[in-house]
Amino acid sequence: MSDVDDEMETSWRPFLWFFSKDLIAGTSGGMAGIIAGQPMDTIKVRQQTAASNVLPSSVKIARDMLRKEGPLSFFRGMVAPLIANAPINALIFTVYGGIVRKIEEDDGERGIIYDDGDVVSFKFSNCCLFMLLCWSHYCAPLFPAKRMLCGLSFPDTCSSHPFPSFLFSLSSLPPVAGTKKSDAI
């Protein structure tokens, strides 16, 4: 029985710890960042969503908020990002950290060795770059410049996009030809 326990210990604990380290460090860093940046973030969002054509300056926004809504208003809306911070970091640093470590461990030994000694390696990093290329091609209809090119060269095929709409809800993309102009909001 102790043998089984030992085996569990040696196989699972490093694996869990591998991810927890990223999570602990990432979450602490993220929380410090959110608290440090919230006042400026509030000013940023207010500038971005201002309706007038002439933007109020950061100083004016800050002064008005301080006078009308009190100093705590700078930190309004901080709870949601703080709560989401742990799961976000779990995702970022396990996906990012996991991929980076995989790349770092990869010494390129896997691959096909041909008779003449040539090696075509399946390096993880190369596969990643290939996937990135594929992704950018797949997303081509998303980007305005590429949409234009795409529409010019394949007017028939480009009107529909290849995305699973439940994921991206890109049914919002109007067809390239005969785009209906949307009214002002």
Binding site: A25, A36, R46, A51, I103, L129, S172, I185
Partner: protein, 238 residues
């Protein structure tokens, strides 16, 4: 055993983009609630969102709590619109933003390390705990700050559109389904405000980016180093 090498900045770009995609599933609801609480609590203009915060301000009541806001939105709009308003815009922002973030972090950190390290130290091999904070902490701080500035400067247009969509309220008549689409919002912005629409809030965003990202990466690297040192002190992986 091969000596551990560092991922190159380009490899970090991919890893960061993948991380950005993953994070947007959680970041979207949290940013949505955050923005709904942040926007101006007055109903002076028709096109800016009057939110539940605004309604509360009009009624002279307390602004809604995070939980209340989330619950109301889910009840009224369902989880798809209630929590994931502006999801496409979030993905469009986060995938390039995080790719750029980690890529430039690697790039800048390497440059700063070369400045402070003794010549001859290989930059592609992991070194840690040299004993001097200038070598251990400063590159992460400066690199993180510069990475934040770079990533924010380039993804500003996406962020403006995302903020705008997410600030649209559930009670204003303007937020019909058509107008929550990112392309429609971007077009509307360009028509109404010109190209400078895409750089709204550029100043505060970039100003904020430096200290925030510097702190994030410094704390991250500091804790990571200490956890790694702890591993070594007990002789192997915890």
């Amino acid at each position: 055993m091969p000596e551990p090498r560092r991922a190159t900045p380009y490899e970090q770009l991919f890893a960061g983009a993948a991380g950005g995609f993953a994070q947007s599933f959680v970041a979207c609801p949290s940013e949505l609630i955050k923005i709904q609480q942040q926007v101006v609590p007055t109903t002076t203009v028709s096109s800016t969102p009057s939110t539940t915060v605004a309604a509360a301000a009009a009624a002279d009541a307390l602004p809604p709590s995070t939980y209340d806001l989330a619950q109301t939105r889910i009840k009224l709009l369902g989880w798809r619109v209630g929590l994931f308003q502006g999801f496409t815009a979030t993905i469009l922002r986060d995938v390039p933003a995080l790719g750029l973030y980690f890529w430039s972090y690697g790039w800048f950190k390497q440059r700063f390390e070369r400045m402070v390290q003794d010549p001859g130290v290989r930059s592609d091999v992991k070194v840690r705990d040299s004993g001097s904070w200038i070598v251990d902490t400063l590159p992460a701080f400066m690199g993180g700050g510069m990475a934040g500035v770079t990533s924010w400067a380039f993804t500003m247009p996406c962020d403006v559109v995302k903020s705008h969509i997410q600030s649209l309220s559930l009670d204003s008549s303007s937020s019909s389904e058509v107008e929550r689409r990112w392309l429609a919002v971007a077009k509307w912005g360009i028509e109404k405000h010109g190209v400078k629409y895409f750089f709204r809030g550029f100043g505060p965003a970039v100003l904020r980016a430096f200290p925030v990202s510097a702190v994030v990466f410094t704390v991250y690297e500091f804790i990571m180093t200490n956890l790694d040192n702890y591993d070594e002190s007990i002789g192997g992986v915890y």
